[in-house]
C-alpha cells in the first residue's frame, strides 16, 4: 500500500508550490487501527497522513462550503459523493484539488481487531472517478464481477419474502434506533442547513428513515457510510439501495 508515501510527497509538493492551503486526509489516531479524518495545514504534519484499510470515513462531506483551496484524496465511492455535491452547488470545484487514490476496500474494526470487509466494499461496483486532477494507483481497484450480483442480493432476497416477514425484519431493527442521526450526519447528500426531522417534528420521528431515504432518491451514491456508522447496526443502506434498484428498473 505505497499510496501513503506518494500522498505525503504530493501533499508537500503541492503545498510548497502554493497550489493548496490545506490537506484533508486521514491521520493516525491514539489507537493504531483507528485513523480519523483530519485537516492538515502545517507541512511538517503531512508526515502523519495515513492511508490503509482502516480509513473507513468518507471525506467528501467535510469539504461542503470550504473556502480555502484544499487537497482532498478521494476513492471511487468518495469521488461519486463529491461529484454529487459539486453538482448541487455545495462545494466550489475551484476550491478543491482532487487526487483519486486506488482502493482495495476497507475493513470493519471491532475491539481493535479487523473484522471482514465493509459491506459497502464487498458490494462496491464503482471503479471510475467522476472528477479528479491527479491519480495515484487507481488501476488496482479490484472489482470482481461478484460485487455486481452481491449489490442487490439482499434487496431481492427481502423482496421475495412475505411483507409480514419484511415488516418484522424492519421493526426489529428500527425499534433499536436511538435517533442519534449518525446516518444523516455522515451522509454526503444529506446537507440541509436545518433538518426537517429536527425542527418541525412533522412525524414525531416516525418514518425518519423512510423520509431520509426518499430525500436521497436519485442522489444517493451508495457509499454505504450510513450503515457503517449506525451504532445499532441497522442496515439503513438497504432502503436507498431499494430505491436505486426500482429506479434502475
Amino acid at each position: 500500500m505505497n499510496e501513503q508515501e506518494k500522498m505525503r510527497t504530493r501533499a508537500k509538493e503541492l503545498h510548497a508550490a502554493g497550489i493548496i492551503k490545506q490537506v484533508l486526509a486521514w491521520e493516525a489516531g491514539a489507537f493504531p487501527s483507528y485513523p480519523a479524518p483530519a485537516f492538515f495545514t502545517k507541512p511538517n504534519a503531512f508526515e502523519k497522513i495515513v492511508y490503509n484499510e482502516f480509513c473507513t470515513a468518507n471525506l467528501s462531506k467535510y469539504v461542503i462550503n470550504i473556502t480555502e483551496k484544499t487537497l482532498i484524496f478521494l476513492r471511487p465511492c468518495d469521488a461519486h459523493s463529491f461529484a454529487q455535491l459539486v453538482k448541487e452547488n455545495q462545494v466550489k470545484r475551484e476550491n478543491t484539488y482532487v487526487i483519486a487514490v486506488g482502493c482495495e476496500g476497507c475493513v470493519q474494526v471491532d475491539e481493535g481487531e479487523a473484522r471482514d470487509l465493509l459491506e459497502s466494499c464487498r458490494t462496491c461496483t464503482k471503479t471510475d472517478y467522476p472528477l479528479f486532477d491527479e491519480e495515484i494507483n487507481t488501476q488496482n481497484n479490484p472489482r470482481e464481477s461478484t460485487n455486481k450480483a452481491a449489490r442487490f442480493a439482499e434487496v431481492t432476497r427481502l423482496d421475495s419474502e412475505e411483507n409480514t416477514a419484511r415488516y418484522a425484519f424492519w421493526q426489529a431493527h428500527f425499534s433499536q434506533c436511538i435517533r442519534c442521526n449518525a446516518c444523516r450526519n455522515i451522509c454526503p447528500t444529506c446537507h440541509c442547513k436545518e433538518c426537517v426531522m429536527d425542527s418541525d417534528h412533522p412525524l414525531d420521528g416516525q418514518f425518519y428513515h423512510a423520509i431520509r431515504a426518499l430525500h436521497q432518491d436519485g442522489r444517493c451514491t451508495d457509499c454505504g457510510q450510513c450503515s457503517r456508522v449506525c451504532p445499532r447496526g441497522i442496515p439503513v443502506h438497504l432502503l436507498n439501495r431499494k430505491l436505486i434498484y426500482t429506479s434502475n428498473k
Binding site: E88, N89, H191, C192, E194, C195, P202
Partner: protein
C-alpha cells in the same frame, strides 16, 4: 386569533342530510372560534351581508364557510371577506355539499364527516397568512387558432375593440367548414354570401394579421404573457407579388389530386387555392404532388406567372410572438364511417355524407350545383337520408347528439325539392331535434309544403345492385320491416373535434374531456372560458353547435378576451411559491421540477418569480428542507388539515 364559522343550509341541499345546528354548536368547543352561525343561503346577498356584519361585530381574523365546493364560490366569499376588511386569503371553505351532503345519505355519517371537514378548515384558517395579489403586465395582442367562422368572428370582434389579433389557419385559406356549405338553415341563404364578406373584412381589418397555411407549434407563459411559436409553412408563392390571377393553376400539369375542399368529389392541381373565394386568394404548391418538387422537372407555373411570384426555394418561416390571450377555434371534422360497414359507404359511390351532398348542391362545387349521382352522373329520382350515423351510439360511435344534422337534413330536403320538385325524399330518423329559433317551423314546411317523408326507424343494411341501392329498413311507428330502394343515400354523419385540437390542448395545458372537446371552466356559468386562465373557447372545439350558436359563442369568447386585454395589468395569483433563504442550501433541485421555469438561483439560494409561478407546489413538496413553501397550501397548513381529518 378570532375565527367565525358559517354553516350554509343551501336551501335543502345541505340541510337535508347534515345537522347544521350541531356543527355550529360543536365547532365552538375550539377556544379560537368566537362566533358560529348557520344560514339558509350564504352565497346570496343576505348571507354575504351576515358574514360581513359578523366579521365587523366580532373583529374576526379568520372565517370558515361550510357550504358548497370552493370551485363554485371561493372567489365570491373572498370578495365578501375583502368587503368586510378581512384579507381575502384568510377565509377557508369546507366542501360539505358536493363532497358530503350530496354523496352520503346517512345523516349521522354525513354530519360527522361535515364536522371533521369544518375542523380541518378551521385548522387551515388558523395558519392562513394574509396574502396580497401581485401584478403582471398584459400584452395587448390576441391569438386566434382556427380560421373557420368561429375564429373569424372572434378575431373581428377583438379587432373591433381595437386590439391586434393574429388569426392562424392550417389550410391555405380561412373559411373553414362553412365555406364548403351550400345553403344554411333555417333561412336557406347561401353560406358563401354571408361568410365571404366576413372573410374579406377579416383580411382587410388593419388590426388582424392572417397566418394561413400555418400552425402553432409551442405555447409558453400564462394569461397576459403567453409566448407562441408559429410555423408559417412555405407556400412556394410570394404573397406580396401574387395577384391571384389563376394562370398558374390553369397551366399546372398535375391535375389529378383529389380536392380536400370538395371532399374528394373533384380534383385539384398541385398549385391550388382551395376554393374560388379563398382569402387570401394566393395559391399554395402542394409539395407532395408537385412534379417540380418530386423530380425537379416542370416549373410551368413559374414560367406563366407574370409577377414572378412563384418561389420554389421558399422555406418555412418560424416566428415567436407575445400574446395576452389565446382563443381556440379549431372547429370539427366529419366522423369517420369505417365502423359502419352496413351502410356500404366505402362500397357504393352513391352513398355519400351530408358534407359531400353540400359540395354536390353547391354552384361552385364539382357538378356546378347540379345534383348528380357520383357513379353515373344521372339525376337521382329517389333520395334516402339516414340520421344519427355515428351519433348517440355508445358502442361504435359518439355518445352525444351532433345537434346540427336534423336541421341540415331538413334543409337538404327542401333545397332538393325546390330544384327538383319530382324528386322523392325519405328520411329515416330516431328523433327530429329542432330546438332553435324558427327551426321547427322550417321542419314543418319540409313535411307539409314539400312532402318529404319522415320515417321513424332505422336502415339495417344497404347493398347496391346494378345501380340501385337496396335497403332493409324498419318503421317503428308502423312496427313493420320493409325493403326500399333509392338512387342515392345521404348519411348524416356525426361530427368530432378536428385532429389539431388534442395537441393544441396539450400545448396550452388546457384540460380536455374524454371526447377531445375542450373542457369549459364551468358548464353553465363560464361556457366560453377554458379552465386555464387567458384561454377561451370559440365554436365547435367546445362541443357540437350550429352556425348561429357558433357565432354567438365566438363573440362571447371575444368579449371575455377583451376583458383581459382591456386591463393594463392583471392581478396575479398570490398563492405562489416562496423560499425561506435561511433554510435553502442552493442545491437547485426545485429548478428542474418547475414547469414554468419560475425558479432561479440568486447568490446560492433559490428564488421563485411570482409572475411566472402558477402555484402547482411541485417544488415545495420536492424540497427536502422545507425551505420552499407554497402560499395558501403551506406545509403547516396541509399537515394541520391532515391532523384534523385523521384524529
Amino acid at each position: 386569533m378570532r375565527i367565525g364559522v358559517f354553516v350554509c343550509h343551501c336551501g335543502s341541499n345541505i340541510k337535508a342530510t347534515i345537522d347544521a345546528e350541531y356543527i355550529a354548536a360543536q365547532v365552538q368547543q375550539d377556544a379560537k372560534v368566537v362566533h358560529a352561525a348557520e344560514y339558509p343561503y350564504l352565497c346570496a346577498e343576505g348571507g354575504q351581508q351576515k358574514i360581513i356584519n359578523a366579521v365587523r361585530e366580532y373583529q374576526l381574523t379568520g372565517v370558515v364557510i361550510c357550504a358548497c365546493s370552493p370551485r363554485m364560490h371561493e372567489n365570491t366569499f373572498r370578495k365578501t371577506a375583502a368587503k368586510a376588511g378581512l384579507n381575502p386569503y384568510q377565509i377557508e371553505i369546507a366542501n360539505i355539499r358536493e363532497q358530503c351532503s350530496w354523496v352520503h345519505k346517512n345523516k349521522d355519517a354525513a354530519t360527522g364527516k361535515a364536522l371533521k371537514l369544518a375542523k380541518a378548515a378551521i385548522a387551515r384558517v388558523k395558519l392562513a397568512l394574509p396574502l396580497f395579489a401581485g401584478e403582471s403586465a398584459v400584452t395587448k395582442r390576441a391569438l386566434v387558432i382556427g380560421g373557420g367562422i368561429a375564429g373569424i368572428q372572434t378575431a373581428l370582434d377583438i379587432a373591433e375593440a381595437g386590439f391586434a389579433v393574429d388569426l392562424v389557419e392550417s389550410t391555405p385559406s380561412i373559411g373553414g367548414k362553412m365555406a364548403q356549405l351550400d345553403k344554411t338553415f333555417p333561412t336557406l341563404d347561401c353560406a358563401a354570401c354571408i361568410l365571404t364578406p366576413k372573410m374579406v373584412d377579416a383580411a382587410a381589418h388593419e388590426k388582424i394579421t392572417l397566418h394561413t397555411y400555418s400552425e402553432v407549434e409551442e405555447v409558453e407563459g400564462f394569461v397576459g404573457n403567453f409566448t407562441a411559436t408559429i410555423r408559417k409553412k412555405a407556400r412556394s408563392v410570394d404573397m406580396k407579388k401574387c395577384t391571384g390571377c389563376g394562370a398558374c393553376w390553369e397551366k399546372c400539369p398535375s391535375k389529378r389530386i383529389p380536392s380536400e375542399f370538395d371532399c374528394g368529389l373533384a380534383n385539384r392541381t398541385a398549385i391550388y387555392t382551395p376554393f374560388a373565394q379563398a382569402v387570401p386568394n394566393v395559391p399554395v404548391i402542394d409539395r407532395a404532388t408537385c412534379i417540380k418538387f418530386k423530380n425537379g422537372r416542370c416549373g410551368l407555373c413559374a414560367d406563366v406567372c407574370q409577377p414572378a411570384a412563384i418561389d420554389f426555394t421558399q422555406e418555412d418561416a418560424v416566428f415567436t410572438q407575445e400574446y395576452g390571450v389565446i382563443i381556440a377555434a379549431t372547429g370539427y371534422q366529419v366522423f369517420s364511417l369505417d365502423a359502419y360497414g352496413e351502410y356500404a359507404y366505402h362500397d357504393s359511390k352513391n352513398v355519400i355524407t351530408s358534407l359531400e351532398l353540400e359540395r354536390l348542391m353547391n354552384a361552385a362545387g364539382p357538378t356546378g350545383g347540379k345534383l348528380q349521382r357520383p357513379s353515373d352522373g344521372k339525376a337521382p329520382k329517389k333520395i334516402t337520408f339516414i340520421q344519427c350515423v355515428g351519433s348517440r351510439d355508445i358502442t361504435r360511435g359518439k355518445p352525444y347528439c351532433s345537434k346540427i344534422c336534423c336541421m341540415y337534413t331538413a334543409k337538404h330536403a327542401i333545397a332538393i325539392k325546390e330544384k327538383y320538385p319530382e324528386a322523392e325524399i325519405e328520411i329515416f330518423y330516431i328523433d327530429v331535434r329542432t330546438p332553435g329559433k324558427g327551426f321547427d317551423e322550417f321542419y314543418r314546411r319540409a313535411v307539409e309544403v314539400y312532402g318529404v317523408r319522415y320515417i321513424k326507424g332505422q336502415v339495417g343494411k344497404i347493398a347496391e345492385m346494378n345501380g340501385i341501392l337496396h335497403m332493409q329498413a324498419v318503421d317503428l311507428l308502423e312496427n313493420k320491416r320493409f325493403d326500399t330502394t333509392a338512387d342515392m343515400v345521404v348519411l348524416a354523419a356525426a361530427i368530432e373535434p378536428s385532429p389539431g385540437a388534442k395537441p393544441l390542448a396539450q400545448m396550452l395545458a388546457t384540460p380536455m374531456d374524454t371526447l377531445r372537446f375542450f373542457s369549459e371552466a364551468h358548464p353553465k356559468l363560464r361556457p366560453v372560458e377554458s379552465a386555464t386562465a387567458g384561454i377561451f373557447l370559440s365554436g365547435v372545439c367546445h362541443g357540437p353547435k350550429d352556425i348561429p350558436e357558433t357565432v354567438a359563442q365566438a363573440s362571447a369568447a371575444a368579449c371575455k378576451a377583451i376583458g383581459v386585454l382591456a386591463k393594463d395589468k392583471l392581478i396575479t395569483n398570490p398563492c405562489v411559491a416562496k423560499v425561506n433563504d435561511k433554510k435553502c442550501t442552493g442545491c437547485g433541485r426545485c429548478i428542474d421540477v418547475c414547469p414554468y421555469k419560475a425558479i432561479s438561483l440568486e447568490s446560492n439560494a433559490a428564488e421563485a418569480n411570482p409572475a411566472l409561478c402558477q402555484g402547482c407546489g411541485g417544488c415545495a413538496s420536492l424540497c427536502p428542507s422545507n425551505a420552499m413553501d407554497l402560499n395558501g397550501f403551506t406545509h403547516k397548513q396541509v399537515l394541520a388539515e391532515v391532523d384534523a381529518l385523521c384524529r
